[in-house]
C-alpha cells in the first residue's frame, strides 16, 4: 500500500539488516518499525512520533530523508474509515462560508448597535434644550391652552345660539388689549348673550404673601398683598386684568371655574380675564 514502507523495507533488505538489528541501532521499537514498513501509521502514537521515527529510520537506512518526509507529508494523516472526501469538502466550505458570514454579521450588528447608541446620545443632548425652555413657561402655556379650549367650546355653543352680531367685534378689540385678540374678540362680542353677566375673578392666597394688582374694566381697584388664607373676589363687565407678584402663591377662580395657580412661585405674571373665561 505504502510506497514509503516499501522503499524502507527494500532498503533494509538490500543492506541485509534484520528488524531486530534495526531496533538495536535506531533505538526505535520493533513494532513501530514494522508499522512504518507496513504503512500502518495508526499504530504509532501521534504524528510527531511518526515523523520522528520515519526520519530516523530513513537516515539509518541511508535513504534520502527529505524525500521520504515530503512523501509522508503528501500522504497526510491517515484517513478515517468512513471518511468521505466530498462530504468533508462540502462541510468545510460551508463552514468557511459560515465563518465569514458570521464575521460580517457580527460587524453589522456592532455597527448597528453603535449607530443606535450614537443616535440615542444625540437625541438626548438635543432633547434636553427644549425641555429647559418648556419648563420655564410651562405653567402659563398649559393654562393658556386650557383656557383657549374652553373658549372654543363656549364659542361653539354661542355660535349655535346664533351669535349674529359681528358688528360689535371691532369695538371690543382695543379693550381686550394683549392676549389673543383673534380668539378673544368673539368672546367679548358674545358677552350679552352669555347667561353670566360680566366676569368674576376670585383670588385665594395659598402659599405665601403675594403682591397683586387687579384692574377691572380699565380702573385699578385693588393693589396690595394677598396673604395665605385671604380670598378676594372681583367682578367686572368685560375685562379683569390681574397682575401677580408671585403666580404660584395664588389660586385663581374665574367665573366659578377653578383655573388653579397661573405659574411658579416668584413668577410675575399678567393675565386678562373676560366673561368668556379668559
Amino acid at each position: 500500500m505504502s510506497t514509503i514502507g516499501e522503499s524502507l523495507r527494500n532498503a533494509r533488505k538490500a543492506r541485509g539488516i534484520s528488524l531486530e538489528q534495526a531496533e538495536e541501532d535506531t533505538k526505535i521499537r520493533k513494532r513501530y518499525l514494522q508499522a512504518l514498513e507496513e504503512g500502518d501509521y495508526d499504530a504509532i502514537p501521534g504524528r510527531v512520533y511518526a515523523k520522528g521515527f520515519l526520519r530516523n529510520y530513513a537516515r539509518f537506512l541511508g535513504l534520502n530523508e527529505e524525500e521520504i518526509m515530503l512523501e509522508y507529508k503528501l500522504l497526510g494523516t491517515p484517513a478515517r474509515d468512513n471518511f468521505n472526501k466530498e462530504n468533508f469538502e462540502n462541510t468545510l466550505s460551508k463552514r468557511k462560508l459560515n465563518r465569514s458570514g458570521r464575521k460580517t454579521y457580527m460587524i453589522t450588528v456592532i455597527v448597528a448597535v453603535l449607530a443606535v447608541i450614537t443616535l440615542g446620545v444625540y437625541g438626548y443632548i438635543f432633547s434636553n434644550k427644549p425641555e429647559v425652555d418648556k419648563e420655564g413657561g410651562k405653567g402659563p402655556g398649559t393654562e393658556q391652552t386650557d383656557n383657549e379650549n374652553k373658549l372654543n367650546d363656549q364659542n361653539q355653543g354661542q355660535n349655535q345660539n346664533g351669535a349674529g352680531e359681528p358688528g360689535t367685534e371691532p369695538g371690543n378689540v382695543p379693550e381686550n388689549g394683549g392676549g389673543s385678540p383673534a380668539n378673544e374678540s368673539p368672546g367679548g362680542s358674545d358677552t350679552p348673550v352669555h347667561d353670566q353677566a360680566g366676569v368674576k375673578v376670585v383670588l385665594d392666597g395659598i402659599a405665601e404673601k403675594c403682591w397683586a394688582r387687579v384692574t377691572v374694566d380699565g380702573t385699578v381697584i385693588f393693589e396690595g398683598d394677598i396673604n395665605p388664607g385671604d380670598s378676594k373676589s372681583f367682578a367686572g363687565e368685560s375685562l379683569i386684568r390681574v397682575r401677580l407678584g408671585s403666580a404660584g402663591a395664588v389660586e385663581v377662580t374665574v367665573n366659578g371655574e377653578k383655573v388653579g395657580v397661573l405659574g411658579r412661585m416668584g413668577e410675575v405674571i399678567t393675565r386678562d380675564f373676560t366673561p368668556a373665561g379668559n
Binding site: T26, K27, I28, R29, P45, R47, V48, Y49, F53
Partner: protein
C-alpha cells in the same frame, strides 16, 4: 464585552528567549523573529535600536552606546530594557498601528523560574502594552508547538535547548511531571568555543564569531569528516588581527563540556520520572526543540547515551513560539497549562 474585544484584539504569543525572540500572531503565524538585543545610548538611556539592527552593533559600539542582551539565562536581567524590547516587538507585530484594544499576550518563561522572575516578566509584558499577560512554561510551550499529544495520559519527553537555558521535561495529562532547567545552552557553547580558541591560539574572538563557528562546523558527535573554518580575531600576543583555521574536531572537544551538562540534565530528569512514564518515554523517545538542538550530532549523542530514539522537531527554532500561539488560539481549552492564569490589569 470581552467577546467584543476578542474580535478586534490582536492576540500574540511571545517566545522571549535569551538569544532570539519571536512573536506569533493569532491567525498569521510567526511575524517577528529577531535577536533579543537592545542598543542603548549610555548617557541618556535612550533606546537606539532593537533586534537585528542592534545585534549588528554587539561588540562594535563606541563608548557611549551599549548593545545589551536584556535577558540572561532565560530570565530578565535588565527590566527596563526588556520592557522597551517587548514594546518594540509588540508594536512591530501590530505594524505600528495605534492599538485601541491592547493585545492579550502569552509569554513563556523557563520552567525553574522564581516567583520574582516570573513577576518581572508579567509586569514587563503588561507595561509594554499588553491587556492581559499569561505565562507558560517553556518546555510546555515547546511540547505543544512540536505537536506532542500533551493531554494524553502518556509520558512525552521534550528537550528544549535555547540560548540561555536548556529545559528537559516529561509531560503527561497537560502538566509537567518532572523537569529540569539548566542554564547551559547555546550561549554556553559559544563561550566554550571562545575559550578554546583563546587558550589554544591566543586569539580573541567575539560572541558573534563563535556562534557562527558553532552553527557552521559545531558538532556534538565525532564525525568522520573533518571540516575547517577560518576564524578572524585579535591576536592576544601581538594585539593585531589574525586569521586561524580551526577544525570541527576541536570544536567537538570544546563543546563536550556544555553538551555533557545537557546530557546530565536529561539523565537526571529520567531518573526522577515515575516508572510508568519512563516506560512511555522509552517507547516513544525524546523530542528535541530549540535552536541548540540543531547542533549537529546532538540527537545521535543523546540517543546513544540514553538508549532511546531521539528526534528533532520540525522547525525547532519556532517550537516555543508555535506553542504559545496554539495556546492563544485555544486559550479557554489550554488555560490549565498556563502558570497561574490570573488576570492582572
Amino acid at each position: 464585552m470581552l467577546g467584543l474585544f476578542g474580535i478586534f484584539s490582536k492576540d500574540m504569543g511571545i517566545d522571549l528567549g535569551t538569544a532570539n525572540s519571536s512573536v506569533y500572531m493569532k491567525g498569521k503565524g510567526i511575524i517577528v523573529n529577531e535577536p533579543s538585543v537592545v542598543a542603548i545610548q549610555r548617557d541618556s538611556g535612550q533606546v537606539l535600536a532593537v533586534g537585528e539592527e542592534a545585534k549588528q552593533m554587539i561588540g562594535r559600539t563606541p563608548g557611549n552606546i551599549v548593545a545589551i542582551r536584556p535577558m540572561k539565562d532565560g530570565v530578565i536581567a535588565d527590566f527596563d530594557t526588556t520592557q522597551s524590547m517587548l514594546r518594540y516587538f509588540i508594536t512591530k507585530a501590530l505594524k505600528k498601528r495605534p492599538y485601541l484594544i491592547r493585545p492579550r499576550v502569552v509569554v513563556c518563561v523557563p520552567s525553574g523560574v522564581t516567583a520574582v522572575e516570573e513577576r518581572a516578566v508579567r509586569e514587563a509584558t503588561l507595561q509594554a502594552g499588553a491587556r492581559e499577560a499569561y505565562l507558560i512554561e517553556e518546555p510546555m510551550a515547546a511540547a505543544i508547538g512540536a505537536g506532542l499529544p500533551v493531554h494524553e495520559p502518556t509520558g512525552n519527553m521534550i528537550v528544549d535547548i535555547g540560548g540561555g537555558t536548556s529545559e528537559v521535561a516529561v509531560i503527561s495529562l497537560g502538566g509537567i511531571v518532572t523537569s529540569r532547567s539548566i542554564r547551559v545552552a547555546g550561549d554556553e557553547m559559544d563561550e566554550a568555543i571562545m575559550q578554546h580558541i583563546k587558550r589554544t591560539y591566543n586569539l580573541m574572538v567575539g560572541e558573534r564569531t563563535s556562534e557562527e563557528i558553532k552553527i557552521q562546523i559545531g558538532t556534538a558527535y565525532p564525525d568522520k569528516e573533518v571540516e575547517k573554518y577560518e576564524v578572524r580575531g585579535r591576536d592576544l600576543l601581538s594585539g593585531l588581527p589574525k586569521t586561524v583555521s580551526i577544525t570541527s574536531e576541536e570544536v567537538y572537544k570544546a563543546l563536550s563540556e556544555p553538551v555533557s551538562s545537557i546530557l546530565e540534565a536529561i539523565k537526571v530528569t529520567l531518573e526522577k520520572t515515575p516508572p510508568e512514564l519512563a516506560a512511555d518515554v522509552m517507547d516513544r523517545g525524546i523530542i528535541m526543540a530549540g535552536g541548540g538542538s540543531l547542533l549537529k550530532g546532538l540527537d545521535r549523542l543523546v540517543s546513544e547515551e540514553t538508549g532511546m530514539p531521539v528526534y528533532v522537531a520540525d522547525e525547532p527554532l519556532f517550537c516555543v513560539a508555535f506553542g504559545t500561539g496554539k495556546v492563544l488560539e485555544n486559550l479557554d481549552v489550554l488555560k490549565k497549562v498556563l502558570i497561574n492564569p490570573k488576570k492582572i490589569s
